[in-house]
């Protein structure tokens, strides 16, 4: 086979070429812990997230309550654990549709060009001119507060970034020799895109997906803080920080521990994203 400039790989050979690096492993380890907490909160959390206990209001961290209690006597540690599920869901549902829809549209726009590419360009110009948060809360303002509407708002706007990334990669890869060879062999365009081009153009999109999960959690938490995301009495980290904001002097643990959880989750996805970026970077 003639040597090609770009790595021509099909899906089956992907796994044998790449070994995970330390950043990625660290991120995946913490993610595993977070997922365990998300799937089995009742195993770790000693209390229910919604149980009031008026005899134990605003208590500092102790052996009975690792992270203290809030102004309703709810155990902050248990609420932080239970909120892991909600925030992991937020990370997933704010990025799942944008990733798939955006990548497909971007691949098609890059491959076929013409009106699809122009349309993507116009939509892209519109979306980029708004601050993301402003656009999301504007849509939520009209749809109503709550997690489902937040997912809708983010999905409507968020797919554009992936589309642009994949389109850019596609423009480069479709000129590569393996792609031209596939076309000469007469394969259907869908097959060329799906089997040959997609594994090679998807890498930046996947890396961005991880960063987006980190941003998604922060966005969900910000909306929760503003009262536009998860609604009480749901335990969500951003909402918990909002609950704790009036007690920052008297009971700082109420807001601090959820904020730490947010930071850890954010760093985890950042590490995974950075690790994947190193991993998937083409070898020279």
């Amino acid at each position: 086979m003639a040597a090609t400039a770009a790595p021509a790989i099909t899906t089956t050979r992907l796994r044998s070429r790449y070994r995970p690096n330390r950043t990625l492993l660290a991120g995946l380890c913490v993610l595993a812990i977070l997922l365990v907490l998300a799937f089995f909160p009742s195993v770790i959390a000693p209390y229910s997230p919604t149980d009031f206990d008026y005899k134990a209001i605003l208590q500092p961290p102790s052996w009975q309550h690792f992270f203290g209690t809030d102004n309703f006597g709810r155990d902050v540690f248990s609420r932080v654990i239970w909120a892991t599920r909600i925030d992991m869901q937020i990370a997933l549902f704010t990025t799942l549709f944008p990733f798939f829809f955006g990548s497909i549209v971007g691949a098609a726009a890059g491959f076929y060009g013409k009106w699809l590419d122009s349309l993507l360009n116009i939509i892209s110009n519109i979306v980029v001119v708004f601050p993301f948060l402003v656009l999301v809360i504007a849509i939520v303002a009209f749809l109503g507060p709550g997690l489902t509407n937040m997912y809708i708002a983010v999905s409507v706007v968020g797919w554009v970034a992936y589309a642009r990334l994949v389109r850019g990669e596609m423009l480069v890869q479709k000129q590569a020799e393996y792609a031209l060879a596939a076309r000469v062999m007469g394969f259907a365009p869908a097959r060329i895109i799906g089997r040959h081009l997609l594994p090679n153009v998807i890498a930046p999109s996947i890396v961005y997906w991880m960063t987006a999960m980190s941003l998604g959690i922060l966005l969900g938490a910000s909306l929760g803080y503003l009262g536009l995301g998860a609604q009480p009495p749901t335990a969500e980290w951003g909402l918990m920080v909002a609950d704790g904001k009036n007690f920052m002097v008297t009971a700082p643990w109420i807001a601090t521990f959820p904020a730490l959880a947010l930071t850890i989750a954010g760093i985890t996805f950042s590490l995974i994203g950075d690790g994947l970026a190193d991993l998937l970077r083409p070898r020279r």
């Binding site: 116009i122 601050p131 948060l133 504007a138 910000s222 503003l226 947010l262």
Partner: protein, 313 residues
Amino acid sequence: MNRWNYILMRLLQAFFTFFIIMFLVFMLIRLLPGDPASAILGDRATEADVARINAKLGLDKPLPEQFAIFVGNFFHGELGDSISFKIPVMRLIWQRVPVTIFLATYAAVLAVLIAVPLAFVAALRRGSAVDNAIRAVFQVGLSLPTFFVGLVLLTVLGAQLGLFPIGGYGTTFGQHLYYLFLPALTLGFNLAAVLMRNLRAAIIEVLTAEYVDFARAKGLRNRVVLSKHVLRNALISTVTLLGLNVGALLGGAVITETVFAIPGVGRLMVEAIYGRDYAVIQALTLTFAIMVFAAFLITDLVYAQLDPRVEMA
């Protein structure tokens, strides 16, 4: 193509994009259940009010005509009245936009002042403990939620130590700088993290470039080499990044203004949503778009000034 032609072309592009944006915002209010008139007027609307709004916005006319009226009103500065504040929306926004612009600019300046020196230190001592420490701090900073950073600064430096006021805007320029220091620091911290990371990489790349070796070979002192060549090129990427992050900066302003109770358009947006003040929300969405676009244009012009290789094409 000279500078004015370029600006004109960008404005034309913007006009077209803006037209579509206006249409989308126009349609946004129709997402609500019920009719737009009651939505805009709120719960305490009387029959007479509804009739008046229907006439002014032409809500009984076909959709294309409604949109034409909407656009016409917009260019006359007629954006409706705020039901919470009982004053024209235009005046409300006009009062508050300068505050947000001040905050965002202040935050950007602080971010650059923090990020640039630290990026130099990190790049020049690449791989050392100092470098790793700086990078770790900023990595955490990137993942810390803005509202929490604001709360902590507010509580510790504002409420407990009493070093800074805990809200408001002040009346003189000096007072603005004082009142907005903590909010700007909060807002700028995230931006500083992004800037530092990219700037460090850019400086490292520049330091290994051929013209730097040549400058050193010429016998120029390190300081001259750094300031003349490295700094200028590093500055270019900073400007680009600042431009790209204006959206994030303004979005962060929404949170920061809410935490610190600052009378800007960010907080106005949140208040409008709580108060179901849809006329204000519509107008603010457009306002933010205008602000971001203006920032893009300014960034492009500044970038063209800094980098002589760029042509206004």
